[in-house]
Symmetry: C2
Subunit: 197 residues, 2 copies
């Protein structure tokens, strides 16, 4: 069998990934160098590129993994919701689980804005599991919207408020609490998606 070699390679890859996860999480994307990642895991810099083509690529994998993890906690609950307010609360429980990861949420922000400056990367970023998805949001809330305001737009506005809050926090302004933003976002969604008495 040549399995042992493959196993070793897989293990090295995992060690590098763990190292990257740790370093990205403590110092951010730009501040963490490839050499640091490999050194911290006990390898030489060149080894990195046997496993990924770029620092961007590894970071995207980690983001994808993180998002999968956050989402796992959300699934199922939405189906049982009976009102827009309930759905929004479930969505914000999910968003709060991201915000609880204080370091990582600011690193998502760093990478998101970084990716916007690179055509190829931006397109990847927009596509799949790397960001809050307006399409998914729309699916979650659609059934509970009684106005003709497009659900995707409500999702995009919700995301804007969420990501704007990430900037607010990243700059160290402590004026707004998570609850302030959550309440405002939910009120905004209800204002757009339901008819107010």
């Amino acid at each position: 069998m040549a399995k042992k070699q493959q196993e070793k390679s897989r293990q090295t890859m995992q060690e590098l990934m763990d190292s990257a996860f740790f370093l990205f999480g403590s110092k951010g994307f730009v501040q963490t160098s490839v050499a640091e990642i490999t050194e911290h895991a006990g390898y030489a810099k060149g080894s990195f590129y046997r496993h990924w083509n770029s620092k961007d690529e590894l970071f995207l994998l980690i983001v994808e993994q993180k998002f999968r993890h956050y989402r796992a906690e959300r699934n199922g609950r939405v189906d049982r919701a009976t009102s827009l307010e309930e759905v929004m609360n479930i969505i914000w429980d999910f968003l709060e689980s991201i915000l609880d990861d204080e370091n990582w949420s600011s690193i998502f922000l760093e990478f998101t804005v970084y990716s916007a400056r690179n055509d190829v990367l931006r397109q990847r970023m927009n596509k799949s599991g790397y960001r809050l998805s307006n399409a998914i949001f729309a699916d979650l809330v659609r059934d509970h919207i009684v106005t003709d305001y497009p659900p995707e737009k409500i999702g995009a506005l919700n995301t804007a408020l969420f990501e704007g809050f990430l900037i607010h926090r990243a700059l160290g302004t402590r004026l707004l609490s998570v609850k302030d933003v959550r309440d405002s976002a939910i009120a905004m969604a209800l204002g757009l998606g339901t008819r107010q008495g």
Copy 2:
């Protein structure tokens, strides 16, 4: 007189600044190198550092200048406003003048998030004329708020929505129009600051 030398120095500085302004505006902050700035103006790289201590420093000066320019158009109008809605509309006319500068608004975003990763820079960024100020916002709207919701928080939420929209646009998502965001932001402020019938 030694005035001619000073004059020449001032002129060189202005040429470098113009060059930087042009290049930052077309390629962004990180993508524009100091060597490019000086070369485009017809000087050698070393000359840059006779005038500023770092690329950051020159960029901050340019941002300050831009904001002064935007603000100049706003002053005066607010005094004559008689309702929160009027004030919010004036504020959003101002914000739209920033958004009209499509390249620059995304470059502000780039630099804002970049600065968040650097303690010293972040503190400068928070202080003066480099960002939308929650304190100024609060002063503008305070007289028209009849609830006990803190005006600063309304300002911070408004800024969050505004900056979240910058991210939305920077990523090329064209789901939201400026008007969508403006309307939502104003509705949000009215919801928090006035008593609804």
